[in-house]
Structures are given as structure tokens and as C-alpha cells.
């Protein structure tokens, strides 16, 4: 399997600020690749470079086998882009927007019309195809943007925060479409703030912070790398002082909320034994006991904050 996207030592500076700092990664064909990072981390700059909008100061990038800077037209011919901010022409109808984009991709007229009709039907916009986009809701605009990105049947889709600000139903609909188009063979480069979305959709995730890649791996492996973030959530039938456990060497942190305690540990087995012993000794009952794996959000915050501490 080849690479749909290959990035080597990509760097972009704006004056004194290095927005993207020597990043390198590959995205396999047919992969959903998540790109996570806090605001200003360099996500949108990276997408803009990969989609040929801006030139980097250093490094190389290949999309669908083409050098984005040496052969921008060939590379762009094979991509579809849903940007962070809606940018359909609001003074054109949905149909006119799709036809415009298709013509810019040099699509044969008959194929373009067939694709446009099929996409508008699939995304539930066929009934409003002759209405101006300015009358559309945010969800409808976002669906249209995805239609515009798909009209040329691209190999690689770049999606920058595609479900941001959408209602639950529209967001779920778009996520289902992302899964469907990925199953149909499209490579998807997904930038998102939504950890659950990244967890659900992505085969691999890159976390970018301060313009540098902090980690790249599958969501499961990223979580496994941060086992110190797993914790045991326990509820006793009485109030327990958290300090009873905080001295234990296998426990890293205890957070107490009401009669619920979250005990962070790299050795959950030993801590469970300890809790059961403690309950017996003090005539307490354990009402609930759950072992919680670190969430992707926990891993993300650890990586981002860790970097911040290191750079201070």
C-alpha cells in the first residue's frame, strides 16, 4: 500500500513565529488520518500547505503521488477540500456551486451533472438545489461543502473541522458519510477538535502542538502509552478520606468528589485489592468500582500540556 500523503520536514514561518516546524508524517492510502491540536498549533497552516494554498519555507509534501509545489495542478486535481470556514458562493444556488467546481476540475459535462445530482440526492439537498446558498442553514452549507469536495470524485479528502458548530443530527450524518466514503476507498485527512470524533473515525492520529508533531499512532496505542492516566472510580457507602490512599506508592493521584473517588494508578489490580481490603477493614461496602482507561482527551491534554511545561 502506498502513501496518499507524504510530508517531509515541512516548515512555515510568519515573521518570527514558526507556525509549522519541521514536521514529517505519512498517510496511507485508504486511511482516515486525524490531525489534532489546540488552536494555533499549526493544523490549518499544514492543511493550507497540503492543499497548495500556501508555500512552505522548507520541506516537501506529496499528495496522491504528486509534489504539491512542483506539480500543484496535478495534485489539486486529485483532492477535495472542506475548509474550516464555509466558502460556497452564497449568491449562487447549490446547483450552480457544484457545476462551477466541477467545471474548474475540467469534468465532462454529462458526468458532472450525474455526480452533482447523485450527491445532492445523497446529502438531502436535491429539493433545494435551485435556492441561493445564502438561504441555507449551517448544516446545509456544510453538507453542500462536502458535496463540492466530492463532485470531482477525489482520491484524497481534506476535512478541516467538518462538524464544528453543527447540531447533533447533522454532525452524525457527516460522520457517517466520512466512514462511507472511506470504505469506498478515499483517503481522509481530518482535522478536528472533537476527540470522540477522532476516536471513532480515525485509523491513526497525529497530535500537533506549537507547530511540532507531539505523537502519531492509533487511538488505542496513544491511550496505551499513557497508562499512568488510567484510574479507578470507586464509590463507598460512606465518606472516605482521600488521604487514606494518597500515601500508597502504586497510586499517583487521588481526586475525591462527594463519596466518589478517582484513584490514578499504573497498577489497577493492586489498587483494587487494596480497596477491597480497606472496605473489609472499615466495615464499608463498595457500591461501584470501575476501571477507566485514559480517554483520547486525557492523552491529548497530557501531550499538549507536557510540551508547554517543557517549553517554559
Amino acid at each position: 500500500m502506498g502513501y496518499a500523503i507524504a510530508v517531509q520536514e515541512l516548515t512555515k514561518r510568519y515573521g518570527d513565529v514558526t507556525a509549522v516546524d519541521h514536521i514529517s508524517f505519512e498517510v496511507k492510502e485508504g486511511e482516515v488520518f486525524g490531525f489534532l491540536g489546540p488552536n494555533g498549533a499549526g493544523k490549518t497552516t499544514t492543511i493550507r500547505i497540503l492543499t497548495g494554498l500556501i508555500k512552505p519555507d522548507e520541506g516537501r509534501a506529496f499528495v496522491a503521488g504528486y509534489d504539491v509545489f512542483k506539480n500543484p495542478v496535478e495534485a489539486k486535481q486529485r483532492i477535495g477540500v472542506v475548509p474550516e470556514i464555509s466558502n460556497a458562493y452564497v449568491d449562487l444556488t447549490a446547483w450552480e456551486n457544484l457545476i462551477l467546481i466541477g467545471k474548474l476540475y475540467d469534468m465532462p459535462s454529462q458526468r458532472l451533472k450525474e455526480n452533482a445530482i447523485n450527491l445532492l440526492r445523497e446529502f438531502g439537498l436535491y429539493g433545494v438545489k435551485d435556492k441561493l446558498v445564502r438561504t441555507f442553514s449551517k448544516g446545509m452549507k456544510q453538507k453542500l461543502l462536502l458535496c463540492m469536495a466530492l463532485v470531482n470524485d477525489p482520491e484524497v479528502l481534506f476535512l478541516d473541522e467538518p462538524t464544528s458548530g453543527l447540531d447533533v443530527e447533522s454532525a452524525r450524518f457527516l460522520r457517517e458519510k466520512i466512514v462511507q466514503y472511506n470504505k469506498d476507498g478515499k483517503t481522509i485527512f481530518l482535522s478536528t477538535h472533537n476527540m470522540e470524533e477522532a476516536n471513532q473515525l480515525c485509523h491513526r492520529i497525529a497530535i500537533i502542538n506549537h507547530g511540532r508533531i507531539a505523537a502519531i499512532d492509533t487511538p488505542e496505542n496513544l491511550r496505551a502509552q499513557s497508562m499512568e492516566l488510567q484510574y479507578i472510580e470507586v464509590v463507598f457507602n460512606g465518606i472516605v478520606d482521600a488521604r487514606e490512599f494518597s500515601e500508597n506508592p502504586s497510586i499517583t493521584k487521588v481526586v475525591s468528589v462527594g463519596n466518589k473517588m478517582c484513584i490514578y494508578t499504573a497498577d489497577p489490580c493492586a489498587v483494587i485489592e487494596l480497596l477491597v481490603e480497606y472496605a473489609k477493614r472499615n466495615n464499608l461496602r463498595i457500591l461501584s468500582l470501575n476501571t477507566m482507561m485514559p480517554s483520547l482527551e486525557d492523552v491529548f491534554l497530557k501531550l499538549v500540556r507536557g510540551k508547554e511545561v517543557a517549553t517554559q
Partner: protein, 250 residues
């Protein structure tokens, strides 16, 4: 199809889009017709000027003001609405976008400037050579369209009003130094020198020559100058827009 031909085809698609969005609006068309007419009327009322003397100036001003009316605002407007990014994500070169913007200004300017030309013919005022006048009108509209896109290149703003204001600062002085109201032969030597740097001078001179059989420059020079200005403006517009693109998108 070669890469250049494909980009040219995309320029035509962009021009079609521009006409739909920016030009086929009542106020824009009215501006193109009414503004030059009122400017011309303001000049001739109370003066002893014949229709034949007045019409070449009106044709010149109509072509100039219509072909440059919307062009300066398109790129800033599309920068603000992020549609410029949309276009650039497609396999479209910046030069194709600029040429597309030029074409739409050219088509609008050409269609509107046919109206005073038709009025002239309707009133029985015949040019010495109609085909040459038509060719001149086409080149002049291309030249003014290229100027209009050039006017939006710097500063790389996303505020259309800024661009329109700056373009007015260039356009209005040009009208007054280009022999529209006072023929070039009646200007003092310094006036002739200043007039020679304006493309409108050569078009007005050409129209005057073709209607009144008297002009300041040889007809061939008028054509050469218009072609040279068109080439220079087009080249400068493409290069400047390419140069300022990164700043515009940041």
C-alpha cells in the same frame, strides 16, 4: 489539451461566475450607463458643443468606467468571503483567476459601451471606419479591464471599499488628463506629457479621429499604445497578485 489551454478554459468559467455574481445586478448596470452620461452632461450643459464633438468622449468614458467599475472589488471581496481559497483549492492557477476577472470586466465593459456607440450610429453619426472602431473598443475594454484588476492587487486588502476608494483615486484623475473633456491638441506641453501616460488618452484620441477625422497621435500609435498598456497591466496584475497572495490568505 495543454496546461495553458486548460487554465484558459478555467478563466472563462471564472468570468461566467463573476458575471452572474457581480455584474448582472441592476445597480451595477445602471451605474455603468448613468454615471458616464451624467459626467458628460455636466461638462456639456451650458457650452456650445455639438453632439458629434461630445459623443467620442462619452464612448470613451463609458468604456472606461464600466470596464473598471467592479474589477477592483472582486479579489478583495472573494478574499473576505474565503471563496478565493475555494477557487485556489481547485486546480486553478492564480493567473487563471486574474484573467477570468479581467474577462468578466471586459465583457461587461464591451456590452455597455455598445449602447453609446449604437446611439451614435442611430443619430446618423458615422465613423470613418466602423471595423477599426470596433477593434479599438475591444482593445480598450481589455486594457481597462486589466487596469481594474491591477488596481486590486495592492494593498492586498480584504476590504472591497478600500480597494474601490484607491481605484477612484486613480480613475478620476485619469479621466481629466486623458483628453476626454479637452482634446490633447489643446493641452499645454506639460498636459500632453501627463496625458501620454494614460491609456484612456489613446482610446479617446482614436475615437475622436475615427469620428471627427482629427486626432493628436497617429491612429497606429493609438492602437500600439493600447496593446502595450493592456500587456503591461495584465502582466503586472498577475505578478503582483501572485506576489501578495500569501499575505492575502494569511
Amino acid at each position: 489539451m495543454s496546461g495553458l489551454a486548460r487554465q484558459f478554459k478555467r478563466s472563462l468559467v471564472i468570468a461566467e461566475k463573476n458575471i452572474k455574481i457581480y455584474y448582472l445586478k441592476g445597480p451595477v448596470i445602471l451605474f455603468g450607463l448613468v454615471f458616464p452620461l451624467f459626467l458628460a452632461l455636466a461638462y456639456i450643459i451650458g457650452r456650445n458643443i455639438s453632439l458629434k464633438e461630445f459623443l467620442p468622449g462619452l464612448i470613451g468614458m463609458t468604456a472606461f468606467f464600466t470596464a473598471t467599475s467592479v474589477g477592483p472589488s472582486i479579489v478583495p471581496w472573494e478574499t473576505r468571503s474565503k471563496t478565493l481559497e475555494r477557487l485556489l483549492c481547485c486546480p486553478v492557477a492564480m493567473s487563471a483567476i486574474i484573467v477570468g476577472d479581467m474577462f468578466s470586466s471586459f465583457i461587461f465593459g464591451s456590452i455597455i459601451s455598445i449602447i453609446p456607440l449604437a446611439l451614435t450610429l442611430f443619430l446618423g453619426i458615422q465613423p470613418l471606419n466602423f471595423m477599426m472602431l470596433l477593434l479599438g473598443l475591444i482593445i480598450a475594454n481589455l486594457c481597462f479591464a486589466a487596469l481594474s484588476v491591477l488596481l486590486s492587487a495592492y494593498p492586498p486588502t480584504d476590504v472591497p471599499a478600500t480597494s474601490m476608494m484607491l481605484s477612484s483615486l486613480v480613475k478620476f484623475p485619469l479621466v481629466f488628463i486623458s483628453g476626454v473633456f479637452v482634446p490633447v491638441e489643446q493641452l499645454p506641453p506639460w498636459g500632453v506629457t501627463i496625458a501620454s501616460i494614460s491609456p484612456l488618452t489613446y482610446f479617446t484620441d482614436m475615437v475622436r479621429q475615427l469620428f471627427l477625422n482629427r486626432g493628436f497621435y497617429p491612429l497606429v500609435l493609438d492602437f500600439i499604445a493600447l496593446v502595450a498598456f493592456t500587456t503591461a497591466f495584465t502582466f503586472a496584475a498577475i505578478k503582483l497578485h501572485e506576489k501578495t497572495l500569501a499575505k492575502r490568505l494569511s
